[in-house]
Each structure stands twice: as structure tokens, then as C-alpha cells.
């Protein structure tokens, strides 16, 4: 009998590792291939960046609470976030759509309103795509190009011991926002007379429904002349991103619980849902904030920035990835991430 391994047994990362190990690059213009937020191509004076992300109905979004314009915006935003994570400036996108006949032209127009809005917001050009039918549901796949000066690119592999680890914005909100949306959907399904009560949670539901790639941070770092050494966007939860940085840079981390940025609404709602707020930060996904390392020399330039938080530092690899709790205990951080092949996600 033929061997059959379930995909959820190896997980997304295992699967990617397995399928990419036999590929070698053949083109001089390919600088960085698989394994970072975006590919890096060298077409002369600058690096060209390329990245792609696919959103699948029933896996990544639920149109019963996701306005379709927001979906268009989010699909662009998550792609732009990958370019930001290279310290790059996004340039062009191509959009592929597969649509079941449930979707009308008006629905597609609304989706593209969101895409157009994001294109303006992030100053990217829609330059092509592919539109086709689907036997069921909506799939949106976007690829984005970007560019970055050769000496400014921020790779996952460039954290050095002693670097300060920075996180932007606040974390865990998108995850707990999703819990609210799911709960209100269940309430609505069991009693259609009840209208979803989302007004109590505007911030966290907005984090889930309309995340904004942090291009503002990229521009500010450039203005402040701070070079992020390594950078990654926080799409799968802080623990998972720390794991990627640590493994590619061959370093360890000490992260301080009391430095982790959590919004009050995120905290309160997590408590309401009886979920540890730190779990939301560590393992909740889709915040699309930036995690990056800077050399200690750059700390002065950023220390008063209201939206950049210094959450820890890099140490030697052997120390591992650790959380220093409020009570000064040191506990290893488990990267659990946001595995789309595991049940419940």
C-alpha cells in the first residue's frame, strides 16, 4: 500500500520544508528564495521583493461577519505586511480570485472597493490577476512586489546577540476579536432575533476584520535613520515569529512578560473569555504588527516612540526562547502558532 501521511501530522512548516528541499535557484537575480517574508531579487541597484498570500473562505474568513470590502482590504494588507517585514516599500499586486456562483458582480465590486482602498492606503498598483469560478466558496490569492535598497533589507537571519527585540502596536487583539465574532455568530445562529452585539468590542473586532500593515513604521524607521537588523511580521502569533527569528539567526531570546504590549480591551475580553491574555499575545495570530531587532546603539532614537515596544533581547542560541514572567520566573516559550491544518483553526 502507498504511504499516506496526513498533512496535519507534519504541519504547514514541515510540509513546506519537505517540498522545498529539492529546489535550487538557477537565476543570478534570485538573492533570497523560500524562507523569509518575501523573496529577494536583484535587478541592479535595488532588491526587488516578491511575496504571496492566499485567503480561503471557511479557513481564513467567514463572510457571515466579515464585510466583503474588509476582506479585500485585508487580503492586500496581509501581503503588504510581508513587504514591510523586509523593510521594503510595496509596489504592485496581482489578484487571483476563485468564486462560486453564490457571488454576484456586486459582491465582487465590493471586494474590489476594499482592494482599491488598500491600494491607495499602501500606495500599491493593481497590475493584473486571474478570475475564475470555484465549485464552492471564495478564494483570494494576492502576490505583491516591493523594493528595498540593498543595504536596507531586513532578513530573518540577521538578529545578533545583544540586539534589542522590538514589537509594534499591541498584540493578541485580532485573536480575541475573532473569539467575539465567533461567539456572536453562534448567538445569532441559535436565535436570529438577536442581533450581534459588536459595539462593545470595536477595537478588537476591527483588529480582526481590518488589520493595517505597518508601513507607517517602515517610513518612520527610515526617517529616524534606524536600520532594523532582522524583521518579521506577526501573522501567526509572537511565539511562532520568535521561533522563526531564533532558528534563522541562530540566537536565543529573553522576552519580558511585563513589556508585552496588550490593549486594555484585548486584556479585559480575554479575561471575560477565560483565556490567558499572554496566550493571546503568544499564540493568537493575525495582528500584522512588526517584530524586529535593533542594535543597542539605536535604542536612543526609538526610546520615546509611542508605538514601538522593547520586549526583550537576543542571547546565545543555547539559552533557547524564554519568557521572563512578572514574578521573575524564566519559562521556555512554545511555538504553537496558527496551524491551518490543525483542527479548530
Amino acid at each position: 500500500m502507498e504511504k499516506r501521511t496526513e498533512i496535519n501530522k507534519v504541519g504547514e512548516f514541515g510540509l513546506i520544508e519537505q517540498i522545498t528541499k529539492n529546489f535550487t535557484n538557477q537565476n543570478k537575480s534570485t538573492v533570497v528564495g523560500v524562507g523569509d517574508d518575501a523573496a529577494v531579487m536583484d535587478f541592479g541597484g535595488i532588491y526587488s521583493l516578491l511575496s504571496t498570500d492566499m485567503l480561503v473562505e471557511g479557513v481564513h474568513f467567514d463572510l457571515s461577519y466579515m464585510p466583503i470590502q474588509h476582506l479585500g482590504y485585508k487580503a492586500v494588507s496581509v501581503n503588504v505586511s510581508d513587504i514591510a517585514a523586509m523593510n521594503g516599500i510595496p509596489q504592485q499586486i496581482v489578484v487571483s480570485l476563485a468564486l462560486s456562483n453564490r457571488f454576484s458582480v456586486e459582491a465582487v465590486e465590493k471586494l474590489y472597493e476594499g482592494i482599491a482602498f488598500a491600494c491607495k492606503d499602501f500606495e500599491v498598483d493593481l497590475v493584473g490577476g486571474d478570475t475564475t469560478s470555484s465549485p464552492s466558496g471564495l478564494i483570494i490569492s494576492i502576490s505583491v512586489t516591493g523594493e528595498v535598497a540593498k543595504d536596507k533589507v531586513a532578513l530573518r537571519s540577521k538578529v545578533e546577540q545583544g540586539d534589542i527585540i522590538c514589537a509594534t502596536g499591541d498584540l493578541g487583539g485580532a485573536y480575541i476579536g475573532l473569539q467575539v465574532l465567533e461567539r456572536e455568530k453562534q448567538v445569532f445562529l441559535s436565535n436570529p432575533e438577536m442581533q450581534p452585539d459588536l459595539k462593545k468590542y470595536p477595537y478588537i473586532t476591527g483588529r480582526q476584520l481590518k488589520p493595517k500593515a505597518r508601513m507607517d513604521i517602515i517610513h518612520e524607521l527610515a526617517e529616524l535613520k534606524v536600520q532594523p537588523k532582522a524583521m518579521i511580521d506577526i501573522s501567526d502569533g509572537l511565539a511562532s515569529e520568535l521561533y522563526h527569528l531564533a532558528s534563522q539567526s541562530k540566537v536565543g531570546f529573553f522576552i519580558y512578560e511585563d513589556k508585552l504590549p496588550i490593549d486594555k480591551q484585548t486584556y479585559d475580553t480575554a479575561v471575560e473569555f477565560k483565556i490567558d491574555p499572554i496566550t493571546c499575545v503568544m499564540n493568537g495570530g493575525e495582528d500584522y504588527e512588526l517584530l524586529f531587532s535593533i542594535s543597542q546603539d539605536d535604542f536612543e532614537k526609538l526610546k520615546t516612540h509611542p508605538d514601538i515596544h522593547f520586549i526583550g533581547y537576543a542571547t546565545e542560541k543555547e539559552k533557547g526562547i524564554n519568557l521572563v514572567t512578572k514574578s521573575q520566573n524564566v519559562v521556555p516559550i512554545q511555538a504553537q502558532g496558527w496551524d491551518h491544518f490543525k483542527a479548530g483553526n
Copy 2:
């Protein structure tokens, strides 16, 4: 009540027109956006190209007769074909996959074997992607980059009156190959004891299952110093591609029935299926041959090429797109194309 237009009412082209009319390009590097085979970006000395194509199970392929390695190969090939159609050289691809739990790791590995084989064949580098689960079936979305010298790019808008229209290879085979595969599937479904008899039709089933982008032609044209003025790949059928060239170049065409390249197996099988072979050529899709125009001065350099066929010439727009039949009748060509939103495709 909200307005609801069915997508099949406007068709893919109508839908694309509708959703892209409100986008304007903002980046200096964007030279050609939506509307050609690939987007064109200017990053200095050369043009950078970007294109994307999505294949959806149950719409574009049927794994009951499509070996999954071939699907991987084909998904790359159809993308490379778009770069070829710009007279460009492909460079990098990113691959996004959505997979239901029907697919094992081994199946995904086989898919990637086909992708790897195509990467070698077309000298492109796999540089990234996204892998996720799907509630049903397999969706593969690939984006491809390429490059072309600025004075060598072949746009759809550059046909001029008097140009000779050329088609590579032969046409209609992929479509009639699909009919064979569908018929044998039905035979198998109604009587599983019967094994599909595909040996009789190796060429046309191969055309459907493993189309090869014509990068060989692109390299040969360069060696022969022939600049294709306008070019498009034949993915939706000759009629549809002629329509695109005519509308973007503002010309008309006279195409000669007796010059259309049809393989003998295509012809014989079309007759067996009681389908007009010319209909297969005109409206059958997925041949992934190239259709291009050359100036009359270049005819001498190509006239002995065994795989390039001179099927007609460009004339003034008012004349329309015409087929000159074997009996010297002139009949207008209807672009019917390969509309994935219409039933039966």
C-alpha cells in the same frame, strides 16, 4: 432589494473590466498594469514582468485523469507562457496551495515534483509561497516574474496594419484531448471494469495534461533577430486571442482557414467526436501556443521555420476579424472563448 447581477451574465472579461476601471497606477515603476499577459515594471535598465494564474479543482482540472505531477508542471507552464507572451524570460515563481484533507503529504510531494520539473525545464526559481487548508478540493495559484529588454517587450497593442500574423505549433489539440479524457472517464464511471483507453490518443491527451510553454520559440526568435511586434499566448482559443489583439491594437484581421495548423490526431479525433476541427482551433482553449505579429520585412527570416505558421495578416479595424474559408468565403470570427463562468466549462 439589492441589485444582483450573475457573473456569467457579464463574463470574465466584463467582470475584469468592471472591477479594474477605478484603479489608477501610482508608482513610477509600473509601466503596463492590467490588460496584457503580464504586468510590466521598470526597475532601471530592463522591464520586470509579473503575471499570475490560478487553477481550481473541478474547474480547470480533474484529478481522476490528471496525474498530480502533471498538474504541478502545467500550473508552472501556464504561468511561464504568460511571460513568453511578453517576449520575456521567466525568473521566479511563488506558489500558493489550498488543500483539503483528502490530500496527503505524498500527494503534495508529487505535485511539487511536477513543479520542480517545470522549474528546471523553464529555468525558473521557486522563491516562496503559501500553503493552507481548503474546505474542499485543491487550488493552486502561481505568480511568476520575468524580465525583458525594454526594446524587446511584445505588447498586445502593437499589431500594425500589414503585419503578418503567426501561430506556433498546432491548435485545438488540448481541447479535443479533454473530450477524450472526459469520455473515457464516463466509460470508467459506468463500468469500472473498463480501463480508460488513452493509448490511441497520446498526442492530444498530452496536449491537455502537460502543455509546454513555448520558451523555445522565444529563444529562437531572439537568435534569428526577429522582434515579435505584438504577442499573446493562446490559452482561451485562437478566436479569443485574435479578439484581444484586434481590440488593443485597433486593427482587423484576415485569417486563412487553410493556413491554420491542426495536427492529424486532432483533426481525426474531432471528426470522430463530430466536432468541426476549426471550432476546436478557434474556440478550444489551453494549447499555450504563441500568437504574434511580425513586420513583413521579417518574413524571410522565419519562412522556413518548421513550427511557425503564417495564418493571416492585419488590416484596418473597420474590416473586423475574418476567416477566409477554404472555399474563399469571408466569414466573421466570433470570439467565444473559454468562459469559466459559463456552464459546461
